[in-house]
């Protein structure tokens, strides 16, 4: 195998591709007059939902969500979700998360151009929770919402965690005749709760 590695690298160097400069990147791109309104619109366009809770109680905002109101098993890593009843510390195997109805997790940053929320696996050893729960609520601060992906990458540190991801709306597919269906293998809904 060491030979394959060296063979491949040698072949690539032997290709003698003339040097090309690495371009500088824009630190900015498309800008919106109202970055919060655009974030909410982008998220709704991809089948998600954005709720501005203001300075209000998280539980009050959550209780207005039908899937939260009817949830039996709720996992939350965000303080203030009173219905949370799944004890993370007691979970041994990620498959135990398969019957969680709603997962409430913190988001680090939001992106207006595509409704994506950046999440990292801090304090959450089972990344499966983002995907196995039937419904997903991401809680993020209003002042973290940026216009576009260039600004987002300026602010995040992607290599700092083993796993991190941009989540833009619920799990979906259009693999059957291009009909958009929400809820493929992952969460059937994705709500961004902006505080």
């Amino acid at each position: 195998m060491a030979n394959s590695r060296n063979d491949i690298l040698r072949a690539l160097r032997a290709a003698h591709v003339p040097p090309k400069p690495l371009p500088d990147l824009p630190t900015s791109g498309v800008q919106y007059p109202d970055v919060h309104a655009q974030f909410a619109k982008s998220l709704s366009d991809v089948g998600g939902r954005c709720i501005f809770a203001g300075d209000g109680d998280i539980e009050i905002a959550l209780s207005k969500l039908p899937e939260y109101a009817s949830a039996i098993r709720v996992l939350s890593l965000v303080p203030g979700a009173k219905k949370a009843n799944v004890n993370m510390a007691a979970i041994i195997d990620p498959t135990e998360l398969a019957d969680v109805d709603v997962c409430v997790l913190p988001g680090q940053l939001g992106v207006a151009e595509n409704g994506a929320v950046w999440v990292v696996e801090d304090g959450f050893p089972f990344r499966a929770g983002w995907y196995l729960a039937q419904h997903m609520v991401l809680v993020l601060r209003a002042d973290t919402i940026v216009h576009n992906m260039h600004e987002a990458y300026e602010r995040i540190s992607v290599g700092a965690r083993g796993f991190s991801t941009f989540i833009s709306g619920p799990s979906k597919t259009a693999d059957i005749e291009q009909s958009l269906v929400i809820g493929a293998q992952g969460p059937r809904s994705c709500t961004a709760l902006v505080v």
Binding site: M1, A11, V46, A98, N114, A128, Y153, R161, G162, S168
Partner: protein
């Protein structure tokens, strides 16, 4: 089919014969192309973003060995194991070895054209390992025992009624169901069961970051994430060209990828993997499989800039009207038609001719690959290598001779305008593309004659 060759027009014959289905396929893909247009037009800097994507990729290709070494070093430092494979066979051997050593018998796989190209599923199944494709489109074609017909929408060639019948036969759903919502729900139940029971997860790689040693996988279903969050072993297969220099370059490529592919602003999940999950193992297999040879070919190396969005397929008038399976290769459409002849020019000699050279593929390409130029280059190279059929070669030579001589062109044009209305329709049947077509009406005068007459007035 000719011995040892894949003839696109012959393969497309059955697809083309079903007129209603052809029109439906054409419109399905055009619908996606229009979504791409809308998604890109709302980004004022779209064209400069394309140029930036192209420049970053061109730079990376000029220092590919350095960036792969840097990626390997950083990924290893994060606790991942990095393997190199010269070809498909070595890739499959490495993956199977990793699974065998851990007694894995049930694997879930998210979409990866590289593993498809390597024939990984068949290899593992031959060794008694069950492989479940977890992307819905891929699962559908896997259950039908056929290859994907598109790299982003693997089951775009199938009708919902056919998928309903398939699910009835293979998953025991009620017969006669064709509602995509209901069918997706049936698959959801099955696939979540497969994901929860998996012992290992295999994914592709959309972008590998030299600076950090991590990589990004983009899906809409979240299946790559589920498939790697549950089982303890994650194997990621990537082509050598997937590496990019810096993490912030992702800002460019994630903006380009989904908008070009499906017209979405970004995929639902863009997951960044840096090292194995707690208590788990991560293996990255870096595969050459002919790519370093393409890098050595000056005029063709730009095809390695490709980020696999599929936009060139969605816009291609030939792909839309002949279906992905007619290309006989894992990657169909304009991109496949320029990649396949590198692997076997004789076998895939007809593919560069499966194009109108309209240039639409180059216009939509998010990293500005000159696809229609590459198709034209291949035609010349295949002709010079005498790999195209004698009839086509003779016709090209004759056309070349005529087009170089104004008098011959004018003379033959006059003859054609006179004789065309008198020709029997049967003559068209001698040509693969002519079979479904009518002879064009002959104009009374040529443009040149019309120009002379008007100027003389």
């Amino acid at each position: 089919m000719n011995e040892g060759t894949t003839e696109h027009p012959e393969n497309a014959a059955a697809f083309v014969a079903n007129d209603a289905r052809l029109k439906w396929h054409d419109q399905s893909l055009w619908f996606v192309r229009e979504k791409r247009d809308r998604a890109s037009s709302v980004i004022p800097e779209w064209e400069s973003l394309r140029a930036l994507g192209a420049d970053i990729k061109a730079h990376t290709l000029s220092r590919l060995a350095d960036y792969l070494e840097e990626f390997e070093k950083k990924a290893t430092a994060l606790g991942a194991h990095v393997h190199f494979a010269r070809d498909a066979e070595e890739h499959n051997r490495i993956v199977h070895g990793l699974l065998r050593e851990r007694n894995v018998t049930r694997v879930v796989k998210s979409k990866s054209m590289l593993t498809e190209q390597c024939g990984l599923n068949h290899h593992l199944e031959a060794h008694g390992i069950e492989v479940i494709d977890t992307d819905l489109g891929e699962r559908i074609v896997q259950l039908r025992h056929e290859p994907p017909s598109h790299i982003v929408m693997p089951a775009i060639h199938l009708k919902k009624e056919e998928i309903g019948d398939l699910f009835h036969d293979t998953m025991g759903s009620a017969s006669g169901i064709s509602d995509p919502k209901v069918l997706t729900e049936v698959a959801r139940g099955q696939l979540r069961g497969n994901l929860l029971a998996a012992q290992a997860g295999i994914t592709g790689v959309n972008f590998a970051i030299a600076e950090t040693g991590g990589f990004v996988v983009c899906t809409n279903e979240g299946n790559a994430d589920l498939g790697t969050a549950i089982p303890p072993l994650h194997i990621a297969s990537m082509g050598i060209e997937k590496v990019i220099p810096r993490a912030k370059d992702l800002g460019v490529f994630l903006r380009l990828l989904a908008r070009s592919a499906t017209g979405q602003p970004v995929t639902a999940y863009s997951s960044h993997f840096h090292g194995p999950r707690p208590g788990g193992e991560l293996h990255i297999v870096i595969v050459d499989h002919g790519r370093s040879e393409i890098l050595g070919r000056e005029h063709y190396r730009r095809t390695l800039q490709c980020i696999r969005c599929g936009a060139c397929m969605n816009t291609c008038p030939v792909y839309r009207r002949s279906g992905g399976h007619s290309y006989g290769v894992t990657v169909p459409g304009p991109l496949g038609a320029v990649l396949a002849p590198h692997i076997d020019p004789k076998k895939h000699r007809s593919l560069p001719f499966a194009s109108t050279l309209c240039g639409s593929c180059s216009d939509v390409c998010p990293v500005q690959i000159d696809l229609h130029q590459q198709l034209l280059l291949w035609r010349g190279d295949l002709g010079r290598a005498e790999l195209i059929p004698l009839r086509k070669r003779a016709a090209s030579q004759l056309a070349g001779w005529v087009l170089a001589r104004t008098w011959a062109y004018e003379f033959l044009g006059r003859i054609a305008r006179w004789i065309l209305p008198k020709l029997p329709k049967a003559l068209l049947r001698a040509n693969d593309w002519g079979r479904q077509r009518e002879l064009p009406p002959a104009p009374k005068e040529s443009f040149r004659e019309m120009y002379r007459r008007r100027r003389g007035q």
